[in-house]
């Protein structure tokens, strides 16, 4: 019977998608409201969240092949990528440094808890990389994963609107910005907008993920100094 939970995820998401797609507001995001719906449901009822997780493993399991399939839009955008490879690398590297330094600095204004800062550090990269970085540094991996999802939702909801306001109209620039700031959740959104956005977003997802893993030790060193 727990497989009713699998069906409910599918139905709630599809229903919300149908209802919210015609609405232009960035908050009208089916992913956001599906998550809110189930969190409220399990907080207020005696339904078992463990059963829900068990039944929905299929979706989590499908995430990995979906990420592998991102190779396709990436390959289809190859010509454009090759022409602008240096620009892509510079933009992603600067983006990664901005992401890590601004995230930690702003959080530091509110709390000096080192484990918190280490968990916020990799917030803009895909959760497996983020959890690996945080675990290595002695942060809280599950907190890091939770923050990563929150950041992804933020980017997916508001990213395209903010970029339009800021006159970032180049589809490649839009894709890179979404992938660099909001990893796979932002990339899923970017792929809905267009193949060029999707391709460049998956490129940014990979490149910034790798650069973050390489640069994180520097930032971890500084975070540890604050506690000394």
């Amino acid at each position: 019977m727990i497989y009713l939970y699998t069906l409910s995820t599918l139905l709630v998401f599809l229903l919300l998608k149908k209802m919210l797609t015609p609405i232009a507001n960035p908050l009208a995001n089916p992913l956001l409201w599906s998550i809110v719906f189930f969190i409220i449901l399990f907080s207020l009822s005696r339904l078992s969240f463990t059963d829900y997780q068990q039944a929905n493993k299929i979706f989590v399991w499908l995430l990995e092949p979906a990420i592998v399939a991102l190779a396709l839009p990436l390959f289809q955008q190859l010509q454009q990528i090759r022409q602008h490879l240096i620009a892509v690398l510079i933009s992603c590297s600067v983006g990664v440094v901005v992401a890590m330094s601004s995230g930690v600095l702003v959080a530091y204004c509110f709390s000096h808890n080192q484990q918190l800062l280490l968990s916020i550090l990799p917030k803009s990269v895909t959760s497996p990389i983020a959890m690996a970085i945080t675990a290595q540094a002695g942060g809280i991996p599950s907190l890091a994963a939770a923050i990563v999802i929150g950041v992804g939702l933020l980017g997916a909801c508001f990213g395209t609107t903010i970029l339009r306001w800021a006159n970032v109209n180049n589809p490649q620039a839009q894709g890179l910005a979404m992938g660099c700031s909001a990893h796979a959740i932002g990339t899923a959104k970017a792929a809905e907008i267009g193949p060029e956005q999707g391709g460049f977003s998956s490129l940014a997802l990979i490149v910034s993920g790798i650069i973050t893993a390489l640069l994180a030790p520097v930032f971890i060193y500084f975070i540890e100094l604050t506690g000394a």
Partner: protein, 116 residues
Amino acid sequence: MVSLINIIRSGLIITLFLMLGKFINYVSALPIPSAILGLILLFLALNLRLVKVKHLTPTSSLLLNNMTLFFVPVGVGLLQHLPLLHSFWLAIVVSSMVSTLLVLLTVGWLYQRLVK
């Protein structure tokens, strides 16, 4: 029947590359997730013409078009971390918002300037 064969073939190819990614992740000390390694390997195979684009459809489009759906249960998992999120919520919310905004603008503007 042709489409059924296509579904199976494309599904198998994508699974194979995921498995290769998992294998490399397992035997190496690289801090790179299996799915990302699988993505890179499939990208290389496409470039080397070992795999053709038409071999990947329709499974690739099925997966890519529904990727957002797959994140729903991951997001519902936030439920388990509500106590931790609760104690640090202000720091987390403000830094996530400010930082995400800055990254979006920096990357968007910088790339647009560089390719002009």
